[in-house]
């Protein structure tokens, strides 16, 4: 018997219908992802990356096809598939601590005592280096810090899969590099499965085991999947001259800008 992958996306099709006009966004998406794998999804803006991630999260229903996690069908959102949203989506009326604690209380009520939940919350904040700002509100911290808290909140749910939707898209290059290092560290420590959308080629190659490249919409699908065989831990400075890195980077760039150039742009 053939072994079923940890996360299986099979024949996923998505059509948005609004007021008589229908828009076929995703067509025939098939991919399997292993436990502990780090997968990046890259593609031009508007091709349907967020839609695919929301389908995995269970936030968007599929038109046909399906998603199986550990052989069980995904049809509703839940904390075992935690999402780090593009615009952080922290609750502005709660402090950094309370934003994470709210998730911890919801997921581990009954399973952990109050003291344990506090410990757990602080541990996740430590993991993203945000414990020092635990009493501040989202409005009082920088964009990079907000994303760190968003990651802490998602990790605090102890998800089977961590879904990240262009988490660093709005950040400056330096902050972005720091956060990429943090994510690599977390992945190395917790060994959890991560799927991350990005439009940054370097980010995709640096972080992932595999890169899923999507064709342009409408009816976008998976154009190509690239294995990144670089050994871990990876150091960004050492990679600059690494031939495997350069080749992977070139392959992604060629896919995006030669074979699937974004016609509407420019």
């Amino acid at each position: 018997m053939k072994q079923v992958p940890y996360l299986l996306i099979e024949g996923v099709e998505k059509t948005f219908t609004r007021g008589g006009t229908s828009n076929n966004v995703l067509s025939n998406i098939n991919v399997g992802i292993d436990k502990g794998e780090f997968v990046a999804i890259i593609g031009h803006s508007g091709c349907g990356k967020s839609t695919l991630l929301n389908i995995i999260a269970g936030l968007t229903p599929v038109t046909s096809g399906g998603v199986l996690l550990e052989n069980k069908e995904v049809n509703a959102p839940g904390p075992e598939r935690a999402v780090v949203f593009q615009n952080h989506s922290l609750l502005p009326w709660l402090t950094v601590y309370d934003n994470v604690r709210m998730a911890v209380d919801k997921v581990f009520r009954g399973a952990k005592s109050r003291a344990e939940r506090h410990e757990w919350t602080m541990h996740k904040l430590d993991l993203v280096h945000m414990a020092h700002a635990k009493d501040r509100r989202p409005g009082e911290i920088s964009g990079g810090m907000k994303q760190r808290v968003g990651i802490a909140r998602a990790l605090a749910m102890e998800p089977k899969i961590l879904l990240l939707d262009e988490p660093f898209g709005a950040l400056d290059a330096l902050t972005r590099a720091h956060l990429q290092d943090s994510v690599m560290q977390i992945h190395a420590t917790l060994k959890n499965t991560m799927i991350m959308i990005t439009h940054d080629v370097d980010e995709a190659v640096l972080l992932s085991d595999r890169i899923i490249m999507m064709t342009n919409g409408p009816s976008a699908t998976i154009g190509e999947i690239l294995d990144v065989t670089l050994p871990r831990p990876r150091k960004r400075l050492e990679l600059v001259a690494n031939p495997t890195y350069i080749k992977a980077r070139e392959a992604v760039l060629k896919f995006l800008y030669e074979r699937h150039a974004f016609v509407e742009a420019a």
């Binding site: 269970g58 959102p77 919801k106 989202p138």
Partner: protein, 302 residues
């Protein structure tokens, strides 16, 4: 050279940048005392800038009023005349000389009691119904036009119907408050609920919050700024309506006092009552605004 010296002398200037670092140097050695003094000084300046301009304006208004109304044959009493006629009303708000002859403080409290009941009910029902309406597109489509029409009905237009229904002055007055105050609360709440960002809904969905948790942890805090805008407009309208309603229903409220004073030609009493009404309305508005800043702190900043 001469500029900094000049500035250092002018210590009363509230935003003088030069003395600031100096004060910090002193603070290192004499920390508690000078820090306290500094704090007192900035507080004093803040209070003075807030209080002096309105006091000056008030003085000018009283002066103009005095000049206009002091000449013989003036139709309205001058401020000094008001003081001579009705200083007892100002000086002792809480006297009791029989069932109808009581201080304005008591009358205001009676009116406030009615407002409290009517407004409290309006807040409860307005937030509850607003939440339901805001969550359902169809309820919004069906009810919103009706609310928009009812909202524009003047408070007193409800009074005859209310009197007919309740056959008693006190519940009628309370109903008029209720029906006047509820619309802005209801409409603002429903708009606030409709405007909950999709992001917050997604967070709630991933966490699998149930309906009750979603209501308390996402909906109410997210809509709080809208709800408080409605509550603030509502309390102003409630206070407007109670005075008008009491003029017609009688009793011991501040509204009836004005009507009574008009019938016995005590213009000075009316003017004092106006000052009371204005002050109480101002305080009510400040109270709700203060409550709003405490409850929604941080919500606006994102």
């Amino acid at each position: 050279m001469s500029r900094p010296a000049l500035r250092a002398v002018d210590t009363a200037e509230p935003v003088a940048p030069a003395p600031a670092p100096k004060a910090e140097v002193i603070a290192l050695t004499l920390k508690p005392k000078s820090a306290g003094l500094d704090w007192l000084k900035t507080r004093a300046v803040a209070v003075a800038t807030a209080v002096i301009p309105p006091l000056l304006t008030l003085a000018v208004i009283l002066l103009v009023w005095e000049i206009l109304c002091a000449k013989p044959g003036a139709t309205l009493p001058s401020p000094s005349q008001v003081w001579r006629d009705a200083s007892d009303l100002i000086l002792d708000p809480f006297f009791v000389n029989g069932s109808q002859d009581i201080g304005l403080g008591w009358r205001v409290l009676t009116s406030l009691q009615r407002v409290a009941i009517g407004y409290g009910l309006a807040a409860l029902v307005g937030i509850a119904v607003g939440t339901i309406v805001g969550q359902s597109t169809w309820a919004m489509r069906g009810l919103d036009p009706i609310f928009q029409v009812l909202r524009t009905v003047p408070p007193l237009a409800w009074l005859p119907i209310s009197l007919a229904a309740f056959r008693d002055a006190n519940p009628s007055a309370i109903f008029v408050i209720f029906i006047t105050a509820i619309w802005p609360i209801l409409i603002n709440t429903s708009v606030g609920i409709r405007n909950i960002p999709q992001d917050y809904r997604n967070v709630a969905a991933v966490l699998r919050l149930n309906q009750i948790e979603f209501f308390w942890k996402i909906m109410l805090p997210s809509a709080a700024p809208y709800i408080f805008t409605g509550l603030r407009i509502g309390v102003g309208l409630a206070w407007l309506a109670i005075v008008a309603a009491e003029m017609l229903t009688g009793g011991v409220g501040i509204g009836f006092f004005i009507w009574d004073a008009w019938n016995s030609s005590k213009l000075s009493d009316i003017i004092i009552a106006l000052v009371y009404i204005g002050s109480v309305g101002f305080i009510l508005d400040r109270l709700i605004a203060g409550l709003a800043t405490i409850v929604t702190r941080g919500t606006a900043a994102n």
